[in-house]
Amino acid sequence: MQSNMSALERATPLIFIVLFVIGLAAPFFIYPTFLMKILCFGLFACAFNLLLGYVGLLSFGHAAFLGTAGYVCGWMVRDLGLTPELGILAGTLAAGALGWIFGTLAIRRTGIYFAMITLALAQMVYFLALQIKATGGEDGLQGVPRGHLFGLIDLSDNIAMYYLVFAVFCIGFFIIYRTIHSPFGQILKAIRENEPRAISLGYDVAKFKLLAFVISASLAGTAGATKTLVFQLASLTDVHWHTSGEVVLMTLLGGLGTVLGPLVGAATIVSLQSELADTVGSWVTVIMGAIFVACVLAFRRGIVGEIMALVRRAGIR
């Protein structure tokens, strides 16, 4: 068993390299806007997974970070004329700050309380987004220009935009990967497994959790800000609690606590949504709900988790 696991781990860099090459070549074969959407939601789900999969905290308010960053980025780029990279940075920082506020309030509780507190806080953000003039209320923040990266590269070209999104995703993904595999990540896992022991070992558990929350919120913000540039708009959908539910679904479906799971989950859900849009109409919600139920009841490891389990079992034989 042990040796097989390390075989899997030895294969990991190879898998990453293959995926990276696929990512580089993809826009020439698959519709770029679609890919960009997958990458944005993939980063969002990875950031969310950092919290749920590695710290064991279920946030039901992550849409607040996605949406807030989207609005901040959109507003700064459109109305203040910032360049896109500064817009993404601003969105990330705004989401991080909001994450700090959420975290400070919610981190004292765990489990279900934590989920409900984050949900309620996100609901406040939703009401604010609805009422503040700059967000455009129900119309959304429309007509955000993609602009020129560093003032040089024109992003209105879909391929150029794709590579920016891909780069952003890779950086975000790398940060998450490093976080998980750093001593900090080990402490987080220790907290998840046995919080009293972590406390007795002298760790300031609350501080570690808060830091993880802020990182997760910031990266969710990065995803939201990037998404705003891709679609040139930010709307209430991004702050609605349905989006918070969606990211849970993506993570769960792809594989909780796996590095690549959230990306796979995001790709599956986004493709489903776009395919179902043409065919089933009002059944979209029902199907999403059914996937949720199936994942919880029968499929808790998620796609990537199941594959890894299969590989391990095959290794034993």
Partner: protein
């Protein structure tokens, strides 16, 4: 994926080569009409599947009557009221499936997002469902037609007519977001201009389900008319609770954004006596009855103005494609703008430079249960509001395309 794309490219190239000659210049000899609408959410009753049906009827009728030398195809999708899904889908339709026009687009967020994509790709958008005025003002494009109604027309029509008929003191119940506030602002300026008084207003959160507190405040104001500057479930709940608290019929309600589907779901008992403005009613005349009956047989519901307008706009578009002999957006739009619209939906309708289609609107009052002869017999038409008065005048337009 790869091979298919190359094949498509090759085919498109081949078609392009042929198209120049004998035939009319219609890409692929097919006109593709896309219906992007809300099939499952808030607006699915007033647009949704009914709008897809209306489009199919328009296409069938057009092909049967005009015998065009090109094919017409319909594609439809659910935008789920999400702007990113809508713009993604529209882009995909334009780039990969050769869709010529995206239509319907209920909910302003999705409409504005798709308008931008369409303009960028040089395609036409026909909007029947969305209502916000930025579509023909700040955000206007020269390839968009805002066909059926807008909130300005509804609010103004109702506010003006009601004030003229003696309802000269108003209190507004306003959904507290940009849309509700705009609706309140537009209507209260009309009320004042027509010689009425606005006694006050209360902002309620959006969405809200219990309106009793706000209604009691409206009641305490003593205003003759309570204007509902909200939409959808907020409006229907407010109406229902106004009847419960005995506020109506002592004071009267005016729905600033209401559809026949709302009246149908609330029932006449709750809505009787209300004033509202509509762009279409199935029981206006022989033509509207004939068309609506055909629609009813398939959908088992009478059409809303959005669904009727959808038929009319697609028909107008297809006729323009035939007359222009091309599906190139600019030429088709020029043809559409130069041809007046005369059908069961509109009389002498015309499309202005800002993309607004102007046509007569109707002030309706909801019948009492005793006056109604059965389901869908809901409106007394009290007044026809002529096209020139119904919509925002061009002189007030904030659309950069309008030359002053």
């Amino acid at each position: 994926m790869h091979v298919r794309k190359l094949l498509t490219l090759a085919c498109t190239a081949a078609f392009a080569a042929f198209a120049g000659g004998a035939h009319a210049q219609i890409s692929g000899d097919t006109v593709k009409v896309g219906v992007l609408t809300d099939m499952s959410g808030t607006y699915s009753d007033l647009a949704g599947a009914g709008a897809v049906l209306a489009t199919q009827m328009a296409i069938d009728d057009f092909v049967a009557a005009e015998k065009p030398d090109f094919k017409v195809e319909l594609v439809s999708a659910d935008h789920q009221n999400k702007a990113d899904i809508a713009s993604n889908k529209a882009r995909e339709w334009f780039e990969r499936e050769g869709v010529d026009t995206v239509t319907e687009l209920v909910s302003t967020t999705t409409a504005l997002a798709v308008m931008k994509v369409a303009k960028e790709m040089n395609r036409i958008t026909l909007m029947s469902g969305p209502g916000s005025t930025p579509i023909t003002n700040e955000q206007c494009t020269d390839l968009n037609v805002h066909y059926t109604y807008d909130t300005y027309a509804l609010a103004n029509g109702t506010a003006k007519a009601v004030t003229q008929q003696g309802g000269d003191s108003w209190f507004f119940l306003t959904a507290d977001y940009a849309f509700g506030q705009a609706l309140e602002k537009d209507s209260s300026s009309v009320v004042t201009a027509t010689g009425g008084k606005v006694l006050g207003s209360v902002r309620h959160p959006f969405p809200a389900s219990d309106f009793s507190s706000f209604l009691l405040q409206a009641q305490a104001s003593g205003a003759k008319i309570i204007g509902l500057a909200n939409a959808g479930a907020d409006t229907t709940n407010a109406i229902k609770q106004a009847a419960e608290f005995g506020i109506t019929p002592k004071q009267q309600l005016a729905g600033l954004l209401m559809f026949i589907s709302d009246v149908h779901s609330l029932g006449l008992k709750n809505t009787q006596g209300m004033y509202l403005t509509t762009g279409f009613y199935w029981d206006l005349n022989e033509d509207t009855r004939a068309w609506s009956q055909r629609y009813f047989e398939k959908q088992k519901r009478m059409p809303t103005m959005v669904q009727a307008g959808q038929y009319s706009s697609v028909m107008h578009y297809l006729k323009a494609v035939k007359a222009a002999g091309t599906d190139e957006a600019g030429k088709v739009m020029a043809q559409m703008k130069s041809t007046p619209i005369n059908d069961f939906f509109a009389t002498n309708g015309r499309i202005r430079d800002d993309g607004r289609m102007v046509h007569d609107m109707y002030l309706a009052q909801v019948k009492s249960p005793a006056e109604s002869k059965g389901p869908w017999d809901y409106y007394h038409i009290r007044q026809t509001i002529p096209a020139d008065e119904a919509f925002q005048p061009l002189s007030e337009s904030r659309c950069p395309l309008v030359k002053k």
